[in-house]
Amino acid sequence: MRTLAETKSRWEGTFKEGPSIADLQRAVKFNGPDSPCAAGLRSICWKAFLLWRYAPAEQWPELARQSRAAYSALCDRHLRYIRHPEQLAALAIDPLADDPDSPWNAVRRDDTVRAEILQDVCRLPDELFYHEERVQTMILDILFLYCALNPGVGGYRQGMHELLAPIVWVVAQDAVDRATVTTDDPAEALMVEMLDSAFVEHDAFALFSKVMESAGPFYEVDGSDGLDTPQRNTIVERSKYIHEVALTKIDEELANHLRNIEVLPQIFLIRWIRLLFGREFGFEQLLSLWDTLFAYDPTLELIDLICVAMLLRIRWTLLEADYSVALQLMLKYPTPPPPHGPHTFVDDALYLKGHFDAAGGVTLIFKYTGKSPANSLFTTPAPSRTATPSFQKPHSLRQRTLGARSPLPARILQQPGGVEAFLQGAAKNVLERGEKLGLNQAVRDAVGEIRRNVQGIQENRKTTRGGRALSLFGEAAPPLPDHPPTVSTMEKRNRQLAAMLDESVTNLKLLAASGFEGEKEQHLETVEIAAAKIQFVRACLEDPSLALSEEELPPLSTLTISGSAEISSPTVALDTTPVVMTSSAVDETRTALSTPDSSKENSTLASPPAGSQAEPLIAELDKMDTDHHDEDTLPPLQSELANSPSPPTVLTVIPDTPPPPAAVQREPRPQGPIPTRSTLAQSSFAWMLEPDTTTSSLPQAHSSSISSSGRPPSSGGGASTAQRKRGNLSREKNAFLFGEVTGDKAGEGVLSADQIFGLQPIRKGG
């Protein structure tokens, strides 16, 4: 226990920034190691956030007293005979009476529940504190009371104990033993009362109950007795929402990939969510994550976006992972290195809450990995479009070019000029293909928009939307002033953006000119960098208040778009004018390029459960979509410009329309197809039959002996066995296997099915 002096300084430190919830919130989020949770009294902060959120600080002591009194009353009612068995014995009631209401029977029922809870409490994580007997009893009592009071949750559920344990630790950590303190100072007396170690259990119960108000549904199971009806389950629904709505909206490529490799979201999300990430991060890191979470969202709604943020952080690895690797990653989540420790997932989630779209996802991905999704331009749903998750969207650029599953891009990329040839082919079949791609129309629209908007920049300057400060580069950029930027700064900004676009175009053109010879990886990188830059420019255009960091931009000398030799004549017509695609123009392009038609088709394809049936159609769509998913806008733009019947020679002025508002509202859950693992995964044994394509690197000592996988084959009493505390140490090696097989047979050779007892397949209802 801390000294009184230290506690006192922490107590004062907690309220250093002010006593209101908003002050505490800010301090928790921005003060890092000086956060009132870390440097002050975390238990007080948590109580303030969770229990006293809407009460002025002067009422807090009274609220604490009330909740403590209420808990004491509860203990008297529910734990009386458990804590005082002698009182039960003193009752004049026959212990063997049949009456179900008899206190004896009640105690027996309670004992069953308590035994179930205790089994898990004994298996709490390694923190020594958790394994003190008084602490375990405290945790057991709190969980028991919670379950008694909340029968709706369905009794004790595994995982609750690991939600409660950190709470108990936090409260106990700050506690003060009242008996050791004598003080006349009323302020100090108040502090001691608030932190009284006699009420650790009471306060922990209050905090836990409050957390469970929001976390309880994670544990609920409806229709728990129904074996025949498909059961609805809150946690499964929530997992699906996170994957199919939230992640799909924020990073469709990743969502699609997880779907393609058939990772069921609940497999990892159950643990993430039920334990509020308790097993995913170290103890201290977990506490600071909870600090921010409780500070900003005691309803725990933010959990969904925290999960999304966690997935975004490892997205590049996930995109290359197969089923096993992906699951391993998510069940053993890699600890994010400082300074972006786990608590920053809450910051990310708060950001995503305000930017619930692909652009938000791109921003975060870029922030932490320095890379932007290559195809983000195309998968960004237009603000006006309803977010119907289309589960069969074509694969990402990365997957398609690296993977062997989509033959077309590789073929095109391998042929010099292949992309252009293909695009021109596509342009010729405008009606058939263009309809699906939405591409040609898109480019025409974009060109038209450019034409209209080039000289409408003046108007555009006035359309700045508020002064919302936001930075692509984290907290580094200073907030922008509330007044709109001046004309000259806008012009400068536009030139910078134009230069970025120009650079990307040049690189892509060089790439195209090179005929994609040489290192594929390098080309990919070039394309990705270009895409990232274009994406960045788009984001900047979309939000005029977005800060441009100076050092991220090329020097001003390169800032004019010049007609380079490679650019075809219609583009040259634009050259001497400072051309900037305004946000609405970019939006238009994006809208059209996101191919509503093909995505509609794709979503209908998603409904048949057998993936193999949809395969040919998808392959066809793959072909259709190749160009704009595999390449950036610019090659198509170029080809379209080349085919454009009347290149613009005079730029007409049309006032710009303000950019459409960003769609940030949470979309309703989709009624659309719910992906399951493919039916193949549910199939019978024949699915496992495969041509022998891989060879084992493992030692093959004996035909049926178990390969050791890097450990000694003999497993009789490893080092860990030494931990055993149980009494009986003698080892009878009488391998008790009923039937023909004995322990000695293990190494003797192949066992046939009939040598093993009863290994017949069972039949349904058999």
Binding site: S224, L227, I261, T679, A686, Q700, Q723, R731
Partner: protein
């Protein structure tokens, strides 16, 4: 499938689930088998964990992916998701806890309701190291297994008794069933066996099998 092609038949990955009441030692059976580790105070499983290990059968490397489920998820929709694709199940009880043995019946029903009807099930009485606390006689387990067409073994994850053997036996028998089945049926009409209620419409073309490979370990 012609006989000379038989050698090419290969089991890519066998999915086996561990089920049984909470605290019977499923996680330790898994860690003993895959990592040769035992932890007396292992944390309770929340949701699901999994691990893989390769073994040799018939000169072939068989990869086993073993899913360890939370005992308390019994009779829950979540578990049925775990059962999908499982070809084997180790139904574990604790020989020192008779309740865990009584609940075996309910676990078996759950398997029959949710898992593939061809799933190979082995009944496992764990914690034979607790000799002085034994509450379920070996005969009881043996008889139950016999009556229900299950194989049976008693193990101790703590003492590493029979753990490898249990996994090896179930994997071997799965392998043999698959091999003989593939010869008999040429992998053609396996889909028929599936309960349409569960939405299975299997088309086990070669293409399909390839796709499965990617989803495996």
């Amino acid at each position: 499938m012609a006989n000379d092609e038989y050698d090419l038949i290969r089991l890519q990955c066998l999915l086996v689930v561990l089920i049984g009441d909470s605290g019977v030692g499923k996680s330790n059976l898994l860690s003993r088998f895959t990592r040769n580790e035992f932890n007396l105070d292992s944390k309770s499983t929340i949701g699901v964990e999994f691990a893989t290990r390769s073994i040799q059968i018939d000169n072939k490397t068989i990869k086993a992916q073993i899913w360890d489920t939370a005992g308390q998820e019994r009779y829950r929709a979540i578990t049925s998701a775990y059962y999908r694709g499982a070809v084997g199940a180790l139904l574990v009880y604790d020989i020192s806890k008779s309740l865990s043995f009584e609940n075996v019946t309910r676990w078996l029903k759950e398997l029959r309701d949710h898992a593939d009807s061809n799933i190979v099930i082995m009944l496992v009485g764990n914690k034979t190291d607790q000799r002085h606390l034994r509450a379920v006689p070996t005969e009881d387990g043996k008889n139950f297994a016999s009556e229900n067409g299950l194989s049976f073994i008693e193990t101790s994850a703590l003492e590493a008794t029979n753990v490898d053997l249990a996994f090896q036996n179930i994997l071997t028998s799965i392998y043999q069933i698959v091999s003989s089945k593939s010869l008999a049926e040429e992998g053609a009409d396996v889909g028929k066996k599936f309960d349409p209620r569960e939405g299975n419409n299997i088309s086990l073309s070669q293409e399909g099998a390839k796709q499965e490979k990617q989803g495996c370990c």
